[in-house]
């Protein structure tokens, strides 16, 4: 696939993350720089402990780096305070997690409505219903997460991620808790929605097959970005 000529939506500049464990200072990410252009699908791969999830957390603004900068759609993410980053996430970023992260006290429909409700959208119910139908859960709208299979829970999570029409979708091992067949369906669905919504996708995965479906692969080893 060819690189998109659009402006970068994510631009990481020398991102470094260090943590103190006892007396030892551990470097998890070191001088990681890259760009992702709008509409691109990029996979982050690497062995366990290579820093994949940490990188994703930084891109989402869920954590702060020890050094470096990160621009999301031209905005310096770490120049914002926590509330500013939360507001930016609400506006631009969607998430899909390995562990689904659905709220157990809410039905599928309510879980999908939640981001719109938090944003004060008046038509949350209609939009949530439409996207749940799109992911094939028309019959499961009023079921609680515990009443759904793993694959269905991840579909709800994908619907929740796309319902706000985010510019950037971050996915952390989205098939990690699913069997191979269900995982493949979920990945198909994610790529379809990605195309339909012109979303930029940053996907953390172990799975080489999934990473091959992305336009570009960022390979992490020992906290450093390898040439791809």
């Amino acid at each position: 696939m060819s690189k998109s000529s659009a402006a970068p939506i994510v631009r990481a500049i020398a991102l470094t993350k260090q943590v103190n464990t006892g007396n030892i200072r551990l470097t998890i990410l070191k001088d990681v720089s890259f760009e992702i252009r709008a509409g691109e699908a990029v996979a982050v791969v690497g062995v366990s402990g290579s820093g994949k999830s940490t990188l994703l957390g930084l891109v989402a603004g869920l954590d702060t780096p020890s050094a470096g900068r990160l621009m999301i759609d031209g905005v310096d993410l770490f120049a914002l305070d926590e509330d500013g980053r939360a507001a930016l996430r609400g506006r631009m970023v969607g998430f899909v997690f390995q562990t689904f992260q659905l709220l157990p006290a809410m039905t599928a429909l309510e879980n999908v409505m939640l981001p719109l409700e938090l944003a004060g959208e008046p038509a949350a119910r209609g939009a949530a219903r439409a996207i749940l139908e799109r992911v094939g859960l028309r019959e499961r709208l009023h079921h609680y997460p515990r009443q759904l299979s793993g694959g269905e829970q991840q579909r709800v999570a994908i619907a929740r991620a796309f319902v706000t029409r985010p510019k950037l979708l971050l996915a952390d091992e989205p098939t990690g808790n699913l069997d191979a067949a269900t995982g493949a369906q979920i990945i198909d669905l994610m790529f379809e929605l990605n195309r339909e919504n012109h979303t930029t996708l940053l996907l953390v995965t172990h799975d080489e097959q999934i990473s091959r479906r992305c336009a570009r692969v960022l390979r992490l080893a020992g906290g450093m970005l390898q040439d791809t």
């Binding site: 926590e82 996430r89 992260q101 659905l102 157990p104």
Partner: protein
Amino acid sequence: MTFVREFALAARLLWRDGRAGELHLIGAAVVIAVAAVTTVGFFTDRVQQALNRQANQLLGGDLVLVADRPLPPEFERAASRLDLATTRTMRFLSMARRGEKNLLTGIKAVSEGYPLRGEVRIADGLYGPDRTAREPPAPGTVWVDERLATGLGVTAGEEIGLGEISLRVAAILTQDPDSVIGFLNAAPRLLMNGADVGATGLAQPASRIRYRLQIAGEDARIGAFRAWAAGRLPPGSRLEGIGDARPEIRAALERAEKFLGLAALVSVVLAAVAISLAARRFLQRHLDGCAMMRCLGATQGALVRLHLVHFALLGCVAAGLGGVIGGLAQQGLAYSLGTLIAVTLPAPSWLPALQGVAAGLLLLLGFAMPPLAGLGHVSTLRVLRRELGAPRGMGLAGYLAGAAVIAGLIFWKAADAWLGAYVLGVSSAAMIAAGALVWVLLKLMAGVRGGVTWRFGVANLRRRTLGSIIQVVALALGIMALLTLTLVRSGLLAAWKDRLAPDAPNRFIINIQPDQLEPMNRFFAARGIALPRVFPMVRGRLVALNGRRVSPGDYADERARRLVDREFNLSWATRLQADNRIVAGHWWGEEAARKNQFSIERGIAETLGIKLGDVLTYDIAGSTVEAGVTSLRKVDWDTFNVNFFVIAPPGLLEGFPASHITSFHLPAGRAGVLNALVKEFPNFLVIDIAQVMTQVRRIMDQVARAVQFVFLFTLAAGVIVLYAAIAATLDERLFQATIMRTLGASRAQLARANLAEFAVIGALAGTIAAAGASVLSAVLAQKFLNLSYAPGFAVWITGVACGSLGVALAGYLGARKVVNVAPLQVLRSLG
């Protein structure tokens, strides 16, 4: 997002949580807390009023206006303007005749409506079954008491002479409510219709007649009448309420109030523990949701505001429901006590319900707010890494605000700083002791080798040290409260009742001259009646305080005016009576260092503004005696022993003309003894206090029932505490059990491990609770209720046995799911 939108979202989130069952525990805790506090509030409001009214039966009304000449009609008119019921009575002494026999008789002439409080009971013949009289005696008839009937040898249907007319005896009078107060109880009694008084010719201008206007109605209106009348009283008249008339009843009512207050306190503490546990669990379960919402763009402020509204709404709904339950419960209570009291209970005010709701909301917010503030800081990374713990504010510090709310509520409900301080002190000490003990035990257990189940259990307990400590502390507090309210309550009530033994003195004799002591002892010995201590007594009027003359005009308080206006009974003693306690200064003991000192009863000292060190001057038979106040005494008037407001050491008062006073128990059916006594010693004045004692016993019974009623709520709160304490670790247990079962542990192994762990926790909590309940009850009995009570061994046995068995059983039932649920289901629900 605008406030309206946020509010609406918070309401929707609340609705979703409620529907998913997330609010059951915390909601139930608030409902029970509010219901308990509300019901107890009604006790101290409505039931207290009822008890007061019942005490007022001894007055025949809520207030009595007593005068030595006919009262102007303006008083009756004023009472009727305030919607108060009134009735007039006249009392005087006169001779009743039958044939050759004459007997000085206390005559009470009553009119329509008498009595306004209490009941008159009559029988058709001597010692026959009696019944309530609905109307006063018809004109032309009288009711006579047992003494008059036996003294004159008259029976129902026969005539007796009174002044210029003859009247027919229609019944034997067995009880008239206001006969014990302010009347010459020495004489036999006769009740007649007020319409006949004129015809007897006994009411002459010079006759010594007491005119009484009895008044009854709502407390506020009575207060208004009292205020209105106080400034308009004609000379020779006074207003009397029950507190003014009988210190014994006042003491009993005060003690009743303290018992109820104690029950209320225990319920509040328990409810608070339940709410704190439930709030903690609720917030822990919502950590992931909060992290998720942060990911979805909710700001810290928005999250805190959402949860604040969420909790406020939950609090309002649950507290409202609790208030309604409290209201219904008090109706049930009113019914149960109402039939016993036989008076219409005054309407409840809304205040107790409002107080209950406020208490529930305060408790909920006190315990939920600090962790809530922490929720705003929940790490958003939690969505990627579950191992990230709870934010600050979920730990001990988070409980400080809640503890402050509990402390505030305890002081509020105790309405007595010392009681509040004792309850708070013992509860805190029990909590700290429990916490420290668990911590030390967990440290020690780490070194003990054991099987895999043991290692697993201990590792669990150690890993969640704070959670384990909170669990044991909560259970200990819960069991302590239950022990206090069950074993200790019945013990304390029994100790109170014991003080009023069935053979307690029910008659006082005053005006015994020194040379009559020996003949009197012989009189009683001959009739097989035991005579308790005889006390010397001189009468003196307080004329100066610290050298400055005092007169009734110096005091605004009506009781103070009366006390200064009349003569005091002064006595001397070396030993302090068992029902007296020195509250300030020192008692002189066997050898008083100096003769001129006084010990004063605390209540009267407060009324007259007398302090320790003040110098009092009494006028005794024309001479003055001056002495300093060296001690203040608290007197338990409800023991019905002879007691004095002012006591001196021997040597100060012996030179003055003294008479003696004593009390004795007159068994039922021996009225003849009194007739013989008065015949042999005509100067004796015999005071009948049997009815007052009956009244005090009734108050005791009602308090016991009322406390039992509160206990139902306490029990419910206790169950919630138990469940909340078990539920607190349920999620974690579920997860661990899943792992264990996946690794091959059998269900029986897991069940045994759970049972053992809960039994240990329960035994630990039970032991601490027994210690706490023992200390608390001993302190309360001694310092606060003035009762000698030592909690028995039963408290320890029950505490430990019920603690371990109850918690093990409840834990097993509560955590049954841990053993029975399919591991896959847990893994799936954990996502």
